[in-house]
Assembly symmetry: C2
Protein backbone atom coordinates (compact mmCIF):
# COMPACT_ATOMS: atom_id res chain seq x y z
CA UNK A 1 0.00 0.00 0.00
CA UNK A 2 1.47 3.36 -1.04
CA UNK A 3 1.91 6.21 1.36
CA UNK A 4 -1.02 8.61 1.43
CA UNK A 5 -0.49 12.08 -0.06
CA UNK A 6 -0.32 14.85 2.56
CA UNK A 7 -2.62 17.82 2.86
CA UNK A 8 -2.89 20.72 5.28
CA UNK A 9 -6.27 21.19 7.00
CA UNK A 10 -7.26 24.37 8.81
CA UNK A 11 -9.13 23.12 11.88
CA UNK A 12 -10.85 25.57 14.22
CA UNK A 13 -12.68 23.10 16.42
CA UNK A 14 -15.94 24.15 14.79
CA UNK A 15 -18.34 21.97 12.88
CA UNK A 16 -17.44 23.11 9.38
CA UNK A 17 -13.70 22.55 9.58
CA UNK A 18 -14.28 19.09 11.10
CA UNK A 19 -16.42 18.14 8.10
CA UNK A 20 -13.84 19.63 5.70
CA UNK A 21 -11.14 17.46 7.30
CA UNK A 22 -13.41 14.41 7.06
CA UNK A 23 -13.80 15.17 3.34
CA UNK A 24 -10.00 15.39 2.96
CA UNK A 25 -9.64 12.04 4.72
CA UNK A 26 -12.32 10.48 2.51
CA UNK A 27 -10.35 11.62 -0.55
CA UNK A 28 -7.32 9.66 0.66
CA UNK A 29 -5.21 12.41 2.19
CA UNK A 30 -3.10 12.20 5.33
CA UNK A 31 -4.30 15.32 7.16
CA UNK A 32 -1.82 17.70 8.78
CA UNK A 33 -4.05 19.94 10.89
CA UNK A 34 -3.32 23.52 11.91
CA UNK A 35 -5.22 25.61 14.46
CA UNK A 36 -4.54 29.18 15.51
CA UNK A 37 -4.66 30.96 18.81
CA UNK A 38 -5.10 34.65 18.14
CA UNK A 39 -6.80 36.00 21.25
CA UNK A 40 -10.24 34.72 20.31
CA UNK A 41 -12.70 34.64 23.17
CA UNK A 42 -13.72 31.10 22.46
CA UNK A 43 -10.54 29.22 23.42
CA UNK A 44 -12.88 26.28 23.97
CA UNK A 45 -12.49 25.91 20.20
CA UNK A 46 -8.86 24.85 20.58
CA UNK A 47 -9.76 22.04 22.96
CA UNK A 48 -12.42 21.01 20.45
CA UNK A 49 -9.85 21.15 17.63
CA UNK A 50 -7.63 18.70 19.51
CA UNK A 51 -10.54 16.30 20.04
CA UNK A 52 -11.57 16.53 16.39
CA UNK A 53 -8.02 15.85 15.15
CA UNK A 54 -7.69 12.82 17.40
CA UNK A 55 -11.11 11.51 16.41
CA UNK A 56 -10.44 11.87 12.68
CA UNK A 57 -6.93 10.41 12.87
CA UNK A 58 -4.98 13.50 11.80
CA UNK A 59 -1.35 12.84 10.84
CA UNK A 60 -0.37 15.83 12.99
CA UNK A 61 -1.82 18.90 14.69
CA UNK A 62 -0.07 22.20 15.30
CA UNK A 63 -1.51 25.04 17.34
CA UNK A 64 0.08 28.26 16.13
CA UNK A 65 -0.02 31.37 18.26
CA UNK A 66 -0.52 34.60 16.34
CA UNK A 67 0.06 38.03 17.82
CA UNK A 68 -3.52 39.12 18.62
CA UNK A 69 -2.82 42.83 18.25
CA UNK A 70 -3.29 42.63 14.50
CA UNK A 71 -6.78 41.25 14.96
CA UNK A 72 -8.08 43.69 17.53
CA UNK A 73 -11.07 45.11 15.65
CA UNK A 74 -13.46 42.20 16.19
CA UNK A 75 -16.13 41.01 18.60
CA UNK A 76 -14.34 37.63 18.60
CA UNK A 77 -11.20 39.04 20.19
CA UNK A 78 -13.02 40.94 22.90
CA UNK A 79 -13.05 44.47 21.51
CA UNK A 80 -16.82 44.45 20.90
CA UNK A 81 -19.89 42.62 22.17
CA UNK A 82 -21.01 39.41 20.50
CA UNK A 83 -24.46 40.02 18.98
CA UNK A 84 -27.23 37.85 20.44
CA UNK A 85 -30.76 36.78 19.60
CA UNK A 86 -30.70 37.89 15.97
CA UNK A 87 -32.70 36.25 13.21
CA UNK A 88 -31.41 35.16 9.80
CA UNK A 89 -32.38 38.43 8.13
CA UNK A 90 -30.33 40.47 10.59
CA UNK A 91 -27.35 38.17 10.17
CA UNK A 92 -27.56 38.43 6.40
CA UNK A 93 -27.28 42.22 6.55
CA UNK A 94 -23.70 43.35 5.97
CA UNK A 95 -20.52 41.92 7.42
CA UNK A 96 -20.88 40.65 11.02
CA UNK A 97 -19.21 42.25 14.06
CA UNK A 98 -17.53 38.88 14.54
CA UNK A 99 -15.50 39.50 11.37
CA UNK A 100 -11.77 39.22 12.17
CA UNK A 101 -9.45 41.31 9.96
CA UNK A 102 -7.94 39.25 7.12
CA UNK A 103 -8.22 36.09 9.19
CA UNK A 104 -8.51 33.52 6.43
CA UNK A 105 -5.74 35.25 4.46
CA UNK A 106 -3.37 34.86 7.41
CA UNK A 107 -4.50 31.28 8.08
CA UNK A 108 -4.16 30.20 4.45
CA UNK A 109 -0.79 31.96 4.09
CA UNK A 110 0.49 29.96 7.03
CA UNK A 111 -1.00 26.76 5.60
CA UNK A 112 0.71 27.53 2.30
CA UNK A 113 4.11 27.84 4.02
CA UNK A 114 3.57 24.68 6.04
CA UNK A 115 2.34 22.84 2.95
CA UNK A 116 5.46 23.74 0.97
CA UNK A 117 7.63 22.60 3.88
CA UNK A 118 5.72 19.29 4.02
CA UNK A 119 5.76 18.92 0.23
CA UNK A 120 2.08 19.45 -0.48
CA UNK A 121 0.01 22.13 -2.17
CA UNK A 122 -3.35 20.69 -1.10
CA UNK A 123 -4.91 22.99 1.50
CA UNK A 124 -8.37 22.35 2.99
CA UNK A 125 -10.53 25.06 4.53
CA UNK A 126 -14.09 24.71 5.82
CA UNK A 127 -15.48 28.05 4.62
CA UNK A 128 -19.00 28.25 3.32
CA UNK A 129 -20.69 31.17 1.64
CA UNK A 130 -24.32 30.13 1.99
CA UNK A 131 -25.42 30.53 5.60
CA UNK A 132 -22.70 32.96 6.47
CA UNK A 133 -22.06 34.99 3.38
CA UNK A 134 -21.18 38.08 5.42
CA UNK A 135 -17.48 37.26 5.64
CA UNK A 136 -15.65 38.38 2.50
CA UNK A 137 -12.86 35.84 3.03
CA UNK A 138 -15.35 32.94 2.90
CA UNK A 139 -16.53 33.67 -0.64
CA UNK A 140 -15.63 31.76 -3.81
CA UNK A 141 -14.00 34.84 -5.37
CA UNK A 142 -11.60 35.17 -2.45
CA UNK A 143 -10.69 31.48 -2.55
CA UNK A 144 -10.02 31.68 -6.31
CA UNK A 145 -7.89 34.82 -5.90
CA UNK A 146 -5.91 33.25 -3.06
CA UNK A 147 -5.23 30.16 -5.21
CA UNK A 148 -4.05 32.31 -8.11
CA UNK A 149 -1.73 34.27 -5.83
CA UNK A 150 -0.44 31.12 -4.10
CA UNK A 151 0.57 29.56 -7.40
CA UNK A 152 2.90 32.53 -7.95
CA UNK A 153 4.15 32.60 -4.36
CA UNK A 154 5.99 29.36 -3.65
CA UNK A 155 9.08 27.84 -5.17
CA UNK A 156 7.36 24.46 -5.47
CA UNK A 157 4.46 25.95 -7.43
CA UNK A 158 6.53 28.25 -9.65
CA UNK A 159 8.87 25.40 -10.55
CA UNK A 160 5.84 23.35 -11.55
CA UNK A 161 6.48 20.60 -9.00
CA UNK A 162 3.68 21.21 -6.51
CA UNK A 163 0.77 23.35 -7.69
CA UNK A 164 -1.41 24.81 -4.96
CA UNK A 165 -5.08 23.85 -4.69
CA UNK A 166 -7.24 25.47 -2.04
CA UNK A 167 -10.02 22.94 -1.39
CA UNK A 168 -13.18 24.52 0.00
CA UNK A 169 -15.48 21.49 -0.23
CA UNK A 170 -18.29 23.11 1.79
CA UNK A 171 -18.37 26.48 0.07
CA UNK A 172 -21.62 25.89 -1.83
CA UNK A 173 -23.39 23.87 0.89
CA UNK A 174 -26.02 24.97 3.39
CA UNK A 175 -25.40 24.23 7.07
CA UNK A 176 -27.93 21.37 6.88
CA UNK A 177 -26.09 19.88 3.88
CA UNK A 178 -22.76 20.20 5.72
CA UNK A 179 -24.22 18.37 8.73
CA UNK A 180 -25.61 15.59 6.55
CA UNK A 181 -22.26 15.26 4.74
CA UNK A 182 -20.41 15.12 8.06
CA UNK A 183 -22.80 12.53 9.43
CA UNK A 184 -22.26 10.38 6.34
CA UNK A 185 -18.48 10.60 6.88
CA UNK A 186 -18.72 9.65 10.55
CA UNK A 187 -17.96 13.04 12.12
CA UNK A 188 -18.75 13.07 15.85
CA UNK A 189 -20.38 16.48 16.16
CA UNK A 190 -20.40 16.29 19.95
CA UNK A 191 -16.64 16.98 19.78
CA UNK A 192 -17.05 20.23 17.86
CA UNK A 193 -17.60 23.70 19.23
CA UNK A 194 -19.35 26.55 17.40
CA UNK A 195 -20.43 29.04 20.07
CA UNK A 196 -18.89 32.52 20.07
CA UNK A 197 -19.66 33.06 23.74
CA UNK A 198 -19.46 29.81 25.74
CA UNK A 199 -19.76 29.62 29.55
CA UNK A 200 -16.84 28.76 31.80
CA UNK A 201 -17.45 25.05 31.26
CA UNK A 202 -17.31 25.41 27.48
CA UNK A 203 -21.07 25.00 27.01
CA UNK A 204 -22.69 26.86 24.12
CA UNK A 205 -24.77 29.98 24.81
CA UNK A 206 -27.44 28.93 22.32
CA UNK A 207 -28.09 32.54 21.33
CA UNK A 208 -25.19 33.93 19.30
CA UNK A 209 -25.27 33.88 15.48
CA UNK A 210 -23.07 30.80 15.35
CA UNK A 211 -25.30 28.85 17.79
CA UNK A 212 -28.44 29.93 15.93
CA UNK A 213 -27.11 28.76 12.57
CA UNK A 214 -25.87 25.49 14.03
CA UNK A 215 -29.17 24.72 15.80
CA UNK A 216 -31.18 25.42 12.69
CA UNK A 217 -28.79 23.30 10.63
CA UNK A 218 -29.30 20.23 12.79
CA UNK A 219 -33.07 20.76 12.72
CA UNK A 220 -33.15 21.12 8.94
CA UNK A 221 -30.80 18.17 8.43
CA UNK A 222 -32.93 15.94 10.65
CA UNK A 223 -29.80 15.01 12.61
CA UNK A 224 -29.85 14.99 16.41
CA UNK A 225 -28.01 18.03 17.87
CA UNK A 226 -25.48 16.77 20.45
CA UNK A 227 -24.45 20.28 21.52
CA UNK A 228 -24.18 20.97 25.27
CA UNK A 229 -25.99 24.24 25.90
CA UNK A 230 -25.55 26.42 28.97
CA UNK A 231 -28.49 25.75 31.33
CA UNK A 232 -28.26 29.19 32.91
CA UNK A 233 -28.48 31.11 29.68
CA UNK A 234 -31.32 29.02 28.30
CA UNK A 235 -33.57 29.49 31.36
CA UNK B 1 -1.71 70.50 9.87
CA UNK B 2 -3.77 67.37 9.19
CA UNK B 3 -2.87 64.00 10.62
CA UNK B 4 -0.69 61.92 8.34
CA UNK B 5 -2.30 58.86 6.74
CA UNK B 6 -1.05 55.56 8.17
CA UNK B 7 0.72 52.78 6.30
CA UNK B 8 2.17 49.43 7.29
CA UNK B 9 5.85 48.85 6.42
CA UNK B 10 7.47 45.42 6.46
CA UNK B 11 10.91 46.07 7.94
CA UNK B 12 13.50 43.30 8.09
CA UNK B 13 16.49 45.33 9.22
CA UNK B 14 17.99 44.96 5.76
CA UNK B 15 18.89 47.70 3.36
CA UNK B 16 15.94 47.35 0.97
CA UNK B 17 13.16 47.55 3.54
CA UNK B 18 14.82 50.60 5.15
CA UNK B 19 14.76 52.38 1.79
CA UNK B 20 11.14 51.29 1.20
CA UNK B 21 10.15 52.80 4.55
CA UNK B 22 12.04 55.99 3.72
CA UNK B 23 10.03 56.15 0.46
CA UNK B 24 6.78 55.73 2.44
CA UNK B 25 7.83 58.52 4.78
CA UNK B 26 8.74 60.77 1.84
CA UNK B 27 5.22 60.20 0.46
CA UNK B 28 3.73 61.59 3.68
CA UNK B 29 2.79 58.39 5.48
CA UNK B 30 3.04 57.70 9.21
CA UNK B 31 4.85 54.35 9.12
CA UNK B 32 3.70 51.46 11.31
CA UNK B 33 6.56 48.99 11.03
CA UNK B 34 6.33 45.21 11.42
CA UNK B 35 9.22 42.77 11.71
CA UNK B 36 9.04 39.01 12.09
CA UNK B 37 10.99 36.52 14.10
CA UNK B 38 10.65 33.13 12.48
CA UNK B 39 13.77 31.25 13.47
CA UNK B 40 16.00 32.99 10.96
CA UNK B 41 19.70 32.59 11.64
CA UNK B 42 20.35 36.28 11.30
CA UNK B 43 18.59 37.62 14.42
CA UNK B 44 21.02 40.53 14.07
CA UNK B 45 18.43 41.73 11.56
CA UNK B 46 15.89 42.38 14.30
CA UNK B 47 18.26 44.63 16.21
CA UNK B 48 18.90 46.43 12.93
CA UNK B 49 15.14 46.73 12.32
CA UNK B 50 14.74 48.47 15.67
CA UNK B 51 17.54 50.92 14.86
CA UNK B 52 16.12 51.63 11.40
CA UNK B 53 12.62 52.30 12.79
CA UNK B 54 13.99 54.67 15.39
CA UNK B 55 16.18 56.45 12.87
CA UNK B 56 13.34 56.92 10.37
CA UNK B 57 10.82 58.00 12.99
CA UNK B 58 8.37 55.10 12.64
CA UNK B 59 4.97 55.66 14.29
CA UNK B 60 5.28 52.19 15.81
CA UNK B 61 7.24 48.94 15.53
CA UNK B 62 5.95 45.44 16.27
CA UNK B 63 8.10 42.33 16.27
CA UNK B 64 5.84 39.37 15.58
CA UNK B 65 6.97 35.88 16.43
CA UNK B 66 5.93 33.23 13.91
CA UNK B 67 6.10 29.53 14.60
CA UNK B 68 9.32 28.58 12.79
CA UNK B 69 8.25 25.02 12.07
CA UNK B 70 6.35 26.10 8.97
CA UNK B 71 9.50 27.61 7.51
CA UNK B 72 11.87 24.74 8.10
CA UNK B 73 12.98 24.06 4.54
CA UNK B 74 15.42 26.94 4.14
CA UNK B 75 19.10 27.77 4.62
CA UNK B 76 17.96 30.90 6.49
CA UNK B 77 16.33 28.92 9.28
CA UNK B 78 19.24 26.60 9.80
CA UNK B 79 18.14 23.51 7.92
CA UNK B 80 20.74 23.96 5.15
CA UNK B 81 24.09 25.68 4.66
CA UNK B 82 24.20 29.27 3.46
CA UNK B 83 25.96 29.30 0.07
CA UNK B 84 29.22 31.31 0.00
CA UNK B 85 31.57 32.81 -2.57
CA UNK B 86 29.18 32.57 -5.52
CA UNK B 87 29.21 34.96 -8.46
CA UNK B 88 26.21 36.70 -10.00
CA UNK B 89 25.70 34.00 -12.62
CA UNK B 90 25.44 31.30 -9.97
CA UNK B 91 23.00 33.37 -7.93
CA UNK B 92 20.86 34.01 -10.97
CA UNK B 93 20.43 30.29 -11.59
CA UNK B 94 17.17 29.05 -10.11
CA UNK B 95 15.66 29.82 -6.74
CA UNK B 96 18.25 30.23 -3.94
CA UNK B 97 18.64 27.86 -0.98
CA UNK B 98 17.90 30.87 1.18
CA UNK B 99 14.31 30.83 -0.11
CA UNK B 100 11.87 30.64 2.83
CA UNK B 101 8.53 28.92 2.09
CA UNK B 102 5.80 31.45 1.32
CA UNK B 103 7.53 34.06 3.46
CA UNK B 104 6.27 37.22 1.79
CA UNK B 105 2.75 35.78 1.57
CA UNK B 106 2.72 35.27 5.35
CA UNK B 107 4.31 38.67 6.00
CA UNK B 108 1.90 40.54 3.70
CA UNK B 109 -1.10 38.66 5.08
CA UNK B 110 -0.17 39.80 8.55
CA UNK B 111 0.40 43.37 7.30
CA UNK B 112 -3.03 43.24 5.67
CA UNK B 113 -4.70 42.27 8.98
CA UNK B 114 -2.78 44.90 10.90
CA UNK B 115 -3.54 47.51 8.25
CA UNK B 116 -7.28 46.84 8.44
CA UNK B 117 -7.12 47.10 12.23
CA UNK B 118 -5.27 50.44 11.92
CA UNK B 119 -7.59 51.66 9.18
CA UNK B 120 -5.16 51.60 6.26
CA UNK B 121 -4.77 49.56 3.08
CA UNK B 122 -1.35 50.97 2.18
CA UNK B 123 1.28 48.27 2.67
CA UNK B 124 4.97 48.83 1.85
CA UNK B 125 7.39 46.02 1.06
CA UNK B 126 11.00 46.33 -0.05
CA UNK B 127 11.09 43.49 -2.58
CA UNK B 128 13.07 43.87 -5.77
CA UNK B 129 13.14 41.60 -8.74
CA UNK B 130 16.30 42.81 -10.45
CA UNK B 131 19.33 41.69 -8.46
CA UNK B 132 17.53 38.90 -6.69
CA UNK B 133 15.00 37.61 -9.13
CA UNK B 134 15.29 34.10 -7.77
CA UNK B 135 12.56 34.50 -5.16
CA UNK B 136 9.11 34.00 -6.68
CA UNK B 137 7.45 36.12 -4.00
CA UNK B 138 9.56 39.15 -4.92
CA UNK B 139 8.26 39.35 -8.50
CA UNK B 140 5.77 41.87 -9.91
CA UNK B 141 3.28 39.12 -10.82
CA UNK B 142 3.16 37.92 -7.23
CA UNK B 143 2.67 41.45 -5.87
CA UNK B 144 -0.16 42.07 -8.36
CA UNK B 145 -1.84 38.77 -7.48
CA UNK B 146 -1.56 39.46 -3.76
CA UNK B 147 -3.14 42.90 -4.24
CA UNK B 148 -6.02 41.39 -6.23
CA UNK B 149 -6.61 38.78 -3.53
CA UNK B 150 -6.33 41.33 -0.71
CA UNK B 151 -9.02 43.51 -2.23
CA UNK B 152 -11.42 40.57 -1.92
CA UNK B 153 -10.21 39.59 1.56
CA UNK B 154 -10.97 42.41 3.96
CA UNK B 155 -14.23 44.00 5.03
CA UNK B 156 -12.78 47.48 4.56
CA UNK B 157 -11.80 46.73 0.95
CA UNK B 158 -14.97 44.85 0.01
CA UNK B 159 -17.15 47.63 1.41
CA UNK B 160 -15.19 50.09 -0.74
CA UNK B 161 -13.91 52.11 2.21
CA UNK B 162 -10.24 51.16 2.26
CA UNK B 163 -8.84 49.60 -0.90
CA UNK B 164 -5.57 47.72 -0.50
CA UNK B 165 -2.45 48.88 -2.32
CA UNK B 166 0.74 46.88 -2.01
CA UNK B 167 3.52 49.39 -2.62
CA UNK B 168 6.75 47.81 -3.85
CA UNK B 169 8.67 50.96 -4.74
CA UNK B 170 11.98 49.15 -5.30
CA UNK B 171 10.73 46.30 -7.43
CA UNK B 172 12.17 47.58 -10.71
CA UNK B 173 15.39 49.05 -9.26
CA UNK B 174 18.90 47.64 -9.22
CA UNK B 175 20.72 47.45 -5.88
CA UNK B 176 22.83 50.48 -6.90
CA UNK B 177 19.67 52.46 -7.71
CA UNK B 178 18.14 51.45 -4.35
CA UNK B 179 21.27 52.65 -2.53
CA UNK B 180 21.27 55.96 -4.40
CA UNK B 181 17.54 56.43 -3.64
CA UNK B 182 18.10 55.64 0.04
CA UNK B 183 21.05 58.03 0.23
CA UNK B 184 18.91 60.79 -1.29
CA UNK B 185 16.23 60.14 1.38
CA UNK B 186 18.74 60.23 4.24
CA UNK B 187 18.83 56.51 5.08
CA UNK B 188 21.72 55.69 7.42
CA UNK B 189 22.92 52.44 5.88
CA UNK B 190 25.28 51.75 8.77
CA UNK B 191 22.16 50.81 10.78
CA UNK B 192 21.04 48.15 8.30
CA UNK B 193 22.03 44.50 8.21
CA UNK B 194 22.06 42.32 5.10
CA UNK B 195 24.36 39.37 5.87
CA UNK B 196 22.86 35.87 6.02
CA UNK B 197 25.69 34.56 8.20
CA UNK B 198 26.99 37.25 10.59
CA UNK B 199 29.54 36.56 13.35
CA UNK B 200 28.69 36.64 17.06
CA UNK B 201 29.12 40.41 17.13
CA UNK B 202 26.68 40.93 14.25
CA UNK B 203 29.39 41.73 11.72
CA UNK B 204 28.77 40.73 8.09
CA UNK B 205 30.57 37.72 6.61
CA UNK B 206 31.24 39.54 3.35
CA UNK B 207 30.89 36.30 1.39
CA UNK B 208 27.25 35.22 1.25
CA UNK B 209 24.99 36.14 -1.68
CA UNK B 210 23.43 38.98 0.28
CA UNK B 211 26.82 40.49 1.23
CA UNK B 212 28.08 40.12 -2.34
CA UNK B 213 25.07 41.94 -3.81
CA UNK B 214 25.24 44.66 -1.18
CA UNK B 215 28.97 45.26 -1.68
CA UNK B 216 28.61 45.46 -5.43
CA UNK B 217 25.62 47.82 -5.03
CA UNK B 218 27.61 50.31 -3.00
CA UNK B 219 30.49 50.14 -5.47
CA UNK B 220 28.20 50.66 -8.47
CA UNK B 221 26.28 53.44 -6.73
CA UNK B 222 29.49 55.30 -5.85
CA UNK B 223 28.32 55.46 -2.23
CA UNK B 224 30.67 54.61 0.62
CA UNK B 225 29.88 51.16 2.15
CA UNK B 226 29.56 51.60 5.94
CA UNK B 227 29.11 47.85 6.58
CA UNK B 228 31.12 46.29 9.42
CA UNK B 229 32.67 43.13 8.05
CA UNK B 230 34.01 40.26 10.14
CA UNK B 231 37.83 40.60 10.32
CA UNK B 232 38.34 36.88 10.84
CA UNK B 233 36.41 35.79 7.81
CA UNK B 234 38.01 38.37 5.54
CA UNK B 235 41.60 37.42 6.44
Amino acid sequence: MGRKPACVCLVSGGLDSAVAMAVARSRGFACHAVSFEYGQRHVAELAAARRVCESLGAAGHRVVRLDPSAFAASALTGAMDVPKGRDGAEMARGIPATYVPARNTVFLAYALALGETLGTGDLFIGVNAVDYSGYPDCRPGFIAAFSAMANLATRAAVEGRIPVTVHAPLIELTKAEIIRLGASLGVDFSLTHSCYDPDSQGRACGECDSCAIRKRGFAEAGVEDPTRYSLKKRS
